[in-house]
Subunit: 233 residues, 4 copies
């Protein structure tokens, strides 16, 4: 690999001046942008730095993406929205129990997004959405709504089949969303989410949450309470 260097500390792209890699450029820029956006946030990431990390000059970036914002949207599309489609279709073909479906949902979300760099985008957007309403709207449309819709569909399936009890889905979906989002945040703001020196094992975390949720939403076997008596009774 004699050509192409990735100077991570210098803003000056190296290599030959004209390299003509039109096909490869967008992907290289997107990769560099994902890294930097996740690492430093949207506002703090300079486009020139993205270009430099991709091994091109500032101007080249604007050849492929008309603005920083569009660059960011493209990153989100590639890293999340794009994978959502494939993810969704997995569910179309799913034939097991709805419990398994929810299990699959949480675990595959983790593998496809949570465990990847893309998860940093979620944290980024939550942090900076207030300053970039357009980006928030974009993420909302491309990621949040489809995601909620999927979970809602799973829940509905479980209710219809008798696996789950009746619930107000508008609120119940967050029993799945919240732990997943929280897990992602704890990856990117460790000190803020997790007690010091403790790292969560994602698989165990998901299993733990999943069990509570599933137990918590199945049709009440008896009365919904076994809390009738205090600890001192």
């Amino acid at each position: 690999m004699p050509h192409r260097h990735f100077p991570s500390d210098s803003l000056t792209p190296s290599g030959a001046r004209h390299e003509r890699r039109k096909e490869a450029r967008p992907g290289e820029l997107l990769d560099a942008a994902l890294d930097l956006f996740v690492e430093k946030g949207y506002a703090a990431t300079r486009v020139e730095e993205v270009a430099a990390r991709a091994g091109v000059s500032k101007g080249t970036l604007f050849l492929y993406f008309p603005s920083k914002e569009e660059l960011f949207k493209a990153v989100v599309r590639q890293s999340i929205s794009g994978r959502l489609v494939e993810w969704n279709s997995d569910f179309e073909a799913f034939s097991g129990t709805t419990c398994d479906m929810l299990d699959f949902c949480m675990n595959s979300w983790w593998e496809r997004v949570g465990a990847t760099k893309a998860s940093g985008l979620t944290k980024l957007i939550m942090s900076e959405a207030g300053n970039f309403p357009e980006i928030a709207a974009f993420y909302q449309q491309e990621v949040v709504q489809p995601g909620h819709a999927l979970i809602r569909r799973i829940f509905q399936r479980g209710i219809d089949s008798g696996e789950f009890r009746h619930m107000d889905l508008d609120y119940a979906v967050y029993s799945v969303v919240a732990p997943m989002v929280y897990m992602i945040l704890s990856q990117h703001s460790a000190g803020v989410c997790m007690p010091k020196d403790m790292l969560l094992d994602p698989k165990k975390y998901i299993a733990s949450q999943l069990r509570i949720i599933l137990d918590g939403i199945r049709p009440s076997p008896s009365t919904p309470v076994n809390c009738a008596t205090g600890p001192d009774s």
Copy 2:
């Protein structure tokens, strides 16, 4: 130069020369800064605006805080300190069921934190933790660890009394933490957490999550599954 002795000074009432006691300045600045940092984030908050809201000039702010960064740290340090003491003591005297305790925990947390300015601080810290590791560590020690410890104590109480099943508490606590944190985030990044045009009713949200949690962690009434069969069975 402890006092001024110029004759001309006698033209001015020597008592309360300045309307606002200068000792109050730092506090006013910190209050203003907290509001603005919460509202707009660190980067988007301009020091001039902070000064203006505190009723002083930009230059004066730099008299008390050597830089924007130090101002931020001071804001967080002051706002965090000892918030949990009072809350904790409420639980010492609690004599009801552990289910009620968890109910009280989540609801009073909502009233004391979620619905107040303090929630903005949580969001702020999560957003900026990456850029201020020192702050993250501080928050970790002052808030996260005590908070987790409290929930853990509640859970342990429930297990000991037989109200809750045995669980790996290292993971189970997040069934309470995650929905609460998520609720805070959705307050401050509405468009990113919630499907468009939908606002969560906090009381209903908490009730919904609480019921799932309580059902999800009580001792298994039968087998932990009623998902043995698929939806088509």
Copy 3:
């Protein structure tokens, strides 16, 4: 004058770093801006250069004018619109013949605008209006409409008093506007308007045009033609 230099070739302002001339700054900036806008056009004038010529830094300019466009508008207001008011009021008090009024109109316009640097703004705007519609609209409103209205009022006065014949004022006003605008343009694009090596004497130019106009718009003494016969008759 030990302080304050006007480095016309360097962009670095000289003098002490903090000079505190708040009252004087806007005027100095406006003067510098007028010079440069006239000399180089709107697009080609760099704000930094304006600041430097006024002896301040780039940032200082934006302390007084929120944008390049507002700076330009302020220049127009100071150089033209502002004077239009005073000019207009001269006419309110005018008690002579309407012929004298028109004479005064053209000559005083020349003295107040045509012969000053402000005339360069007219040329600038005609050249660049296409690229800056907001500026064109502003000039239209602040300068063109009041100017046309004034001329129209003069004409109407002459018609009412019997000094001028009846005319379609929508078109007749240009018999005054066109020569004045042309005169201004010839100042700033000499080679394009005037035969080489010929400079117009403004007073004689105005007198010549004025006489033609006045003769051309007085009530027809006989028939409007003495062109009934060709040159060979």
Copy 4:
């Protein structure tokens, strides 16, 4: 390397290899450039757009013109050349009154210049003269001088025949030139020349100006004034 002799070349029809003869390229580029320069001005015209309109790539443009500036000069030089010859000869054969001649002059000028793309060139040159003195001189020699000379000859003819009064022709010519130039400018900077929402009808405009001029330059029927008395007399 006058010709290529590679055998592989024989696979291609050696005759009309390129659709557009390369000799035509410069002309196509100049045409496209004229359109764009006129429409948007020099600075606002991008070379890439010129190339695109000419159907070639940006690189090709620089093959024929070493810089944007040279392209501009070439455009103007080509577009100006010899435009007035034909027009001039029309007047040689003219046998009517000089009033008719002036009428014909202004109206045919409108048809040949004012209403055509050439008018854009005039406006362009006036706008850019300051930045391209060489162009201004060229325009001066090719257009301004012959044009002024023609009008001057017409005026002289009218004076000689008694149709017009004696005048200082150095100044009187502008009574014709100014309205015509102004008309061109108002075509290309409508918002700047005309009160908002008002469009001039060229024929009526010319008729109006012509009548004033003709009335204004015919031999004084009485005294040159009927402004001896004020409006209140």
